[in-house]
């Protein structure tokens, strides 16, 4: 199927309809964010930057943005610190446990956010560890959400650089285990890890269910803020949605570039 160059008109029509369908909601939000008013015409009649200036002048928005940012950053950093040694040890010393690890890591996919929230609330709203409604429970929940991405990312990078061989060579040359890990393995797997870190970050940035159910009343992230302002002003909400989307888009672009670079590095 690789040698098809010219697509027939049926395929062109199908793909055009698909793209219009997929991009229309995005486009509408985009236009709405810049429209002064927009009623009963195909395109808005007057344009404005008012909504964006209002948005970026709003302390609550900047506060929510900052909260989202640092909660995601802390969770991803924690995940890195915990997952790096764990995945390294499993991959290098206990390859037999890998299927078990895969089972653990796949669970967050199979357990929807709303179910996880139910369990977390029950486990931590009474008893010795009462952290319901705090940032701690959210960070713990976030850790689980990004588990699959971090595990896959770290494991794949370890395998692509043949970490086991590298480690043996380093040890033969007289490096201690810790030294070998820090000076030899880490610099080699770094690009792959940055990719999964960014991916995890963008996933967490869009998280709503857990955030709203676990700490919605106490901590406002960007998604919770967006939800709360939905009812107030449509234009303002579009401005939030578009700012959020552009941020995620930029992140994905960086991700893709990194990915291409890595692929090239591996292949040639």
């Amino acid at each position: 199927m690789e040698n098809v160059k010219k697509a027939g008109w049926t395929h062109r029509v199908v793909v055009t309809v698909l793209m219009v369908y997929l991009l229309l909601p995005l486009l509408a939000t985009f236009l709405y964010a810049f429209a002064k008013e927009w009623q009963a015409t195909i395109l808005p009649e007057r344009w404005t930057l008012e909504w964006f200036s209002q948005l970026f002048g709003d302390v609550r928005f900047l506060d929510a943005l900052w909260k989202s940012f640092y909660l995601c950053a802390i969770s991803v950093a924690l995940s890195l610190v915990v997952m790096l040694p764990a995945v390294f040890v499993i991959t290098v010393y206990f390859p037999k446990w890998e299927s078990f690890m895969k089972g653990i890591v796949v669970l967050p996919y199979a357990v929807p956010g709303v179910v996880a929230a139910v369990g977390l609330i029950r486990a931590y709203s009474q008893g010795p560890i009462n952290i319901a409604g705090t940032a701690y429970i959210l960070i713990g929940a976030y850790f689980i959400v990004i588990l699959p991405y971090m595990y896959q990312g770290i494991r794949n990078s370890l395998l692509t650089v043949s970490a086991v061989d590298l480690l043996h060579s380093a040890e033969l040359l007289g490096a201690t285990q810790t030294r070998a890990f820090i000076n030899v393995i880490l610099p080699n797997i770094w690009p792959g890890i940055i990719t999964s870190t960014l991916l995890s970050f963008s996933v967490l940035f869009g998280e709503f269910v857990l955030t709203n159910m676990l700490v919605g009343g106490h901590i406002q992230t960007i998604q919770v803020y967006l939800y709360q302002r939905l009812g107030e002003s449509g234009h303002l909400a579009s401005a939030i949605a578009i700012s959020y989307f552009l941020f995620i888009l930029a992140l994905s672009m960086i991700l893709m570039k990194l990915g291409q670079k890595m692929n090239r590095g591996i292949e040639g």
């Binding site: 793209m19 357990v111 139910v118 709203n212």
Partner: protein
């Protein structure tokens, strides 16, 4: 490994230190998993069968849920919306993915990039975009009213049809992402061989193409179904607590202000988790099947496409 073992034998003390170091690396991970993954699931399970007073075991909450018309309706609605949107997603996904494979590689990559980009647009922002377009004061709603198109007069975004529409929207990019690579499992040589033997295009697809695609299709249905069953943000932002869906009911039972019956929430959560686990298990089985078809050097191109996509997708749920 032999070398390491030799080194270990030479120095017993070193081995002890090494082992301690190795296990120390696993401890934080084990603690986090136990605290935030296993403990909540266990707590939910015990919560669903524990009597409110005392420490007795009871199935009271299960019987209450399974005899309540209200909760049964929520389960039924969720199943209906998930099945409908998954099937619609898979049909549209199959057709569009095939069309995409017919384009030149450059165009193909662009198209997939755009489709994946829209998969970031989910949850609250997506619901909002649909409100702008088709809500009661939406741009299209007003336009159609002005033009006097009565066909759309009865359309209500905040109802079953509206929800289905939005659910299908977020299913399509995921379906495309998961189905697209499997077309590359069908080799051009098979097509040539079939036509040399006198098979028509339709015969080829019926006897070779579609059977080869089947595991991927069922596996993808599993993922789409689980995706729709667990979807909360979109429905919550669109209809609030007004539409009777399983995920919405769980949310309001556990964290809502009006009625607060966490035990029933636990039971509903267990039911929801069972359906999604089953769906993801189906996907797992089907991926294993798929590998049977796609083993050997032929799968290189399929794998390459899959790999390229994986870098892009925030929601790649396959093959784990």
């Amino acid at each position: 490994m032999l070398l390491i073992e030799d080194l270990l034998l030479e120095d017993g003390k070193d081995m002890k230190r090494r082992n301690r170091w190795i296990f120390a690396g696993l401890i934080p991970f084990a603690i986090m998993i136990a605290a935030f993954q296993l403990a909540p699931i266990l707590s939910m399970l015990t919560g669903s069968v524990k009597a409110e007073k005392g420490a007795g075991f009871t199935l009271e909450y299960y019987t209450r849920v399974l005899t309540s018309d209200y909760y049964l309706k929520a389960i039924k609605n969720s199943l209906m919306i998930s099945v409908t949107s998954s099937i619609a997603g898979i049909v549209i996904g199959l057709l569009c993915a095939y069309s995409i494979t017919r384009f030149a590689p450059r165009v193909r990559d662009r198209l997939l990039m755009l489709s994946n980009m829209t998969s970031n647009f989910a949850g609250v922002p997506l619901a909002f975009a649909y409100i702008i377009l088709l809500g009661s004061n939406g741009v299209f709603t007003l336009l159609f009213k002005q033009w006097g198109w009565d066909v759309f007069a009865s359309f209500d975004l905040y109802s079953w049809t509206g929800l289905i529409l939005v659910y299908i929207y977020f299913q399509i990019p995921l379906a495309l992402l998961l189905l697209y690579p499997s077309y590359y499992g069908i080799r051009e040589q098979w097509k040539e061989a079939a036509s040399l033997l006198g098979a028509s295009n339709w015969q080829f697809w019926r006897t070779v193409g579609i059977p080869v695609l089947m595991p991927a299709v069922f596996g993808t249905i599993g993922i789409l179904f689980a995706n729709a069953m667990g979807a909360y943000a979109t429905a919550y932002a669109l209809v609030g607590g007004n539409y009777n869906l399983l995920a919405i009911r769980i949310g309001s039972l556990v964290a809502g202000n009006v009625i607060n019956e966490p035990q029933l929430g636990n039971v509903l959560a267990v039911i929801l988790a069972l359906t999604t686990l089953l769906a993801v298990y189906l996907n797992h089985k089907m991926t294993q099947r798929n590998q049977l078809f796609q083993s050997g050097p032929a799968s290189v191109s399929a794998r390459k496409h899959r790999k390229r996509l994986r870098l892009w997708a925030p929601v790649v749920k396959e093959e784990l």
